[in-house]
């Protein structure tokens, strides 16, 4: 175990100090932070500007009043687009063409409320109780799920590639011959996977921290659905499972070749599987309650991305989550056993590409 930990430490220490790691981390952080502001840009402004001539009404939510001297000035402001509408003497609303529906409702109800109050009446607003699924957060949840798809995919493929490259570096330079006289192949392989996995988790942690942090700063946090903690935990757990699965595959395939140039070719089956997983989870993010999403979220390795995405996009029964995790853990165990075997047999056979069939028996 000591050997494994030493290898993991070396991976973390050497990689974390490289410019590449720090720069990509910074870029990810900036992108994620920017993402927290995107909904604001698309949903337009939160408040309406309304010109006022004469007495201004009391404060109205989501409306900012601008006082004008006379109707002509207010009319010009509406035409110029300085204000969304103008309220003349609490009687008439000037609009450029048709009045925005929402603004119309706001102004009408404010006007009505003011008159009712003047008449000395009080009214109790209607209470809304949802008896179906909570649909209020559907939009935000779909956005979260899309973001999660991208983050998980890039982190998984990035980390798995580093594992494969590290394996080939050691094999190609024959360091592995010295390493394997001081430790067992599983320690070397395990250490590499654990070390680079920790780096992946650091990346994910930064993404989550920056994402949530900037959501609070941008005010988006108010729109976040309840149960964010569950979504975050699910993303982390599924990242670990998916990473274990794909990085072991990457290491096993990587150990078949001795040169970095051969790596892309030998990794093709793995990258295709990852891309397929990405595509189905993208689909699941769009239709989280569909049968396809439900089924795929149970089947490893698709579950590693579909399930966290589904969890983010909609409510998922606990039983399904447990089943999916159990199946994925079983798949990871199988891949670890087979991958360690392939790695152990292939990593010392330098030279020409080792055929999978030769080492799998």
């Amino acid at each position: 175990m000591n050997g494994l930990w030493l290898v993991a430490q070396r991976e973390i220490r050497t990689r974390i100090r490289t410019k590449g790691f720090l720069i990509s981390l910074a870029i990810t952080a900036v992108l994620v932070a920017a993402f927290a502001y995107v909904p604001k840009l698309f949903s337009g402004t939160d408040t309406y500007a309304v010109g006022v001539v004469g007495t201004a009404p009391a404060t109205v939510e989501q409306v900012e009043f601008v006082t004008y001297a006379d109707e002509a000035a207010a009319r010009q402001a509406v035409i110029d687009g300085d204000v969304d509408a103008a309220l003349i003497d609490d009687q008439t609303v000037l609009a450029d063409g048709e009045l925005n529906d929402r603004l119309g409702l706001i102004l009408q109800s404010a006007h009505r409320d003011a008159q009712i109050e003047k008449a000395g009446l009080t009214i109790t607003p209607l209470r809304v109780v949802s008896v179906g699924a909570d649909a209020r957060y559907e939009g935000v949840r779909a956005g979260l799920a899309m973001l999660l798809v991208m983050v998980l995919f890039f982190l998984l493929i990035y980390s798995a590639m580093f594992v494969a490259m590290g394996v080939v570096e050691e094999k190609g330079s024959r360091i592995v011959e010295i390493l394997l006289t001081s430790m067992r192949p599983w320690q070397l392989l395990g250490g590499k996977i654990v070390g680079l996995g920790v780096l992946g988790l650091i990346n994910l942690g930064v993404v989550i921290a920056v994402g949530l942090g900037s959501a609070f700063v941008s005010g988006l946090a108010a729109d976040l659905p309840p149960g964010m903690a569950g979504i975050v935990i699910s993303a982390v757990v599924w990242f670990i499972l998916g990473y274990a699965f794909f990085s072991t595959l990457a290491a096993a395939f990587g150990s078949l070749v001795s040169r970095q140039e051969e790596l892309n070719g030998v990794l093709t089956p793995m990258t295709m599987l990852m891309t397929l997983t990405y595509l189905v989870s993208y689909f699941a993010a769009a239709q989280p309650t569909g049968t396809a999403a439900k089924v795929l979220s149970l089947i490893p390795p698709f579950s590693s991305m579909v399930m966290p995405v589904r969890t983010a996009a909609a409510e998922v029964p606990l039983g399904e989550i447990i089943l999916a995790v159990a199946l994925m853990i079983a798949a990871v165990a199988v891949v670890l056993l087979a991958g360690a075997r392939i790695y152990q047999r292939a990593v010392l056979r330098t030279g020409a590409r080792v055929k999978l069939g030769e080492v799998i028996r």
Partner: protein
């Protein structure tokens, strides 16, 4: 004590090793020589467990070698392997830790080795910034850092300048003197002859000769008798076995057998004897003879 017993290895149709056996005692420096592709590297890789043997076994202290035994060995593979982007000091220390040294001990032995190998100023440099000769010194440091119980070095001298060769030779002699069996392969036979207590000559997967340098010479058994006589009349050696060559007023007789005392008497009568003695075959000659 390291015993290599009857190793056999095939790569497909090609027989790489065929019954290779030899032993190296504590404190013994064993030179492993042979043509390219004769089986030196294969043997060393099998000793280090990098390659599996088809038959035979490697024994450490009289019992089959385990992974734990090997962990205490120092190994320098034929193709040098270092992390190119890792710093020299960190790298040597890392391998020390992997071989089971505590952090403080790894730091200390790394400092000592870098000092000894003249790499102190390069300690903070990435390996890729070093010349090949210096990279080789780092490789050696990696093999030595954990104070190995046995040293297995594949071509440690290749590519080193004469000063570096001397440094390395000193280091190896020190290790051997402290009781460590040292095996190294080399094509520099003069070096092997100078350094090694015993030599193994391998050819096409078979050990064709093995023993101390003196034993190998004696084994040759037919060190030529060389007599140099000046001012002798032509024909002085008629009837003696061997060949006469004339070099100015010197006549040189090279003889393979016959009564050396009788030859000496004849030579003294014939002229002024400048040289009389048996020629010791050099390792180069023994090697040529053995692999022929």
């Amino acid at each position: 004590m390291l015993d290599i017993e009857n190793l056999g290895k095939r790569f497909g149709e090609k027989v790489a090793l065929d019954g290779v056996s030899f032993s190296v005692r504590p404190g013994e420096m064993f030179g492993f020589v042979g043509a390219n592709g004769a089986g030196k590297t294969t043997t060393m890789r099998i000793i280090m467990g990098v390659l599996e043997t088809d038959s035979g076994e490697v024994r450490h202290e009289g019992r089959p070698m385990t992974h734990e035994d090997r962990r205490a060995y120092g190994y320098m593979p034929e193709e040098r392997g270092l992390y190119q982007k890792m710093k020299v000091g960190e790298q040597v220390e890392y391998f020390g830790r992997l071989h089971g040294l505590a952090p403080a001990a790894a730091r200390r032995t790394t400092a000592e080795l870098l000092e000894r190998l003249g790499l102190v100023e390069r300690r903070g440099d990435a390996v890729e910034a070093l010349s090949l000769g210096n990279q080789q010194r780092v490789q050696l440091a990696v093999a030595l850092v954990h104070d190995p119980t046995v040293l297995i070095l594949d071509e440690p001298f290749s590519g080193l300048d004469p000063l570096a060769v001397d440094t390395l030779a000193e280091v190896l002699k020190d290790r051997a003197a402290s009781g460590v069996p040292v095996i190294f392969s080399s094509h520099q036979l003069e070096l092997v002859e100078r350094l090694c207590d015993s030599v193994g000559i391998i050819s096409a997967g078979r050990m064709v000769a093995c023993g101390s340098v003196a034993e190998l010479r004696a084994g040759e058994g037919r060190g030529l008798l060389k007599v140099v006589v000046r001012g002798a009349a032509p024909g002085w050696a008629d009837g003696l076995p061997g060949e006469i060559t004339v070099d100015g007023d010197r006549q040189v007789l090279l003889s393979t057998d016959g009564d050396d005392q009788a030859i000496l008497r004849r030579a003294v009568q014939a002229g002024h004897v400048e040289h009389f003695g048996r020629q010791e075959p050099t390792l180069v000659e023994i090697f040529r003879e053995a692999v022929a």
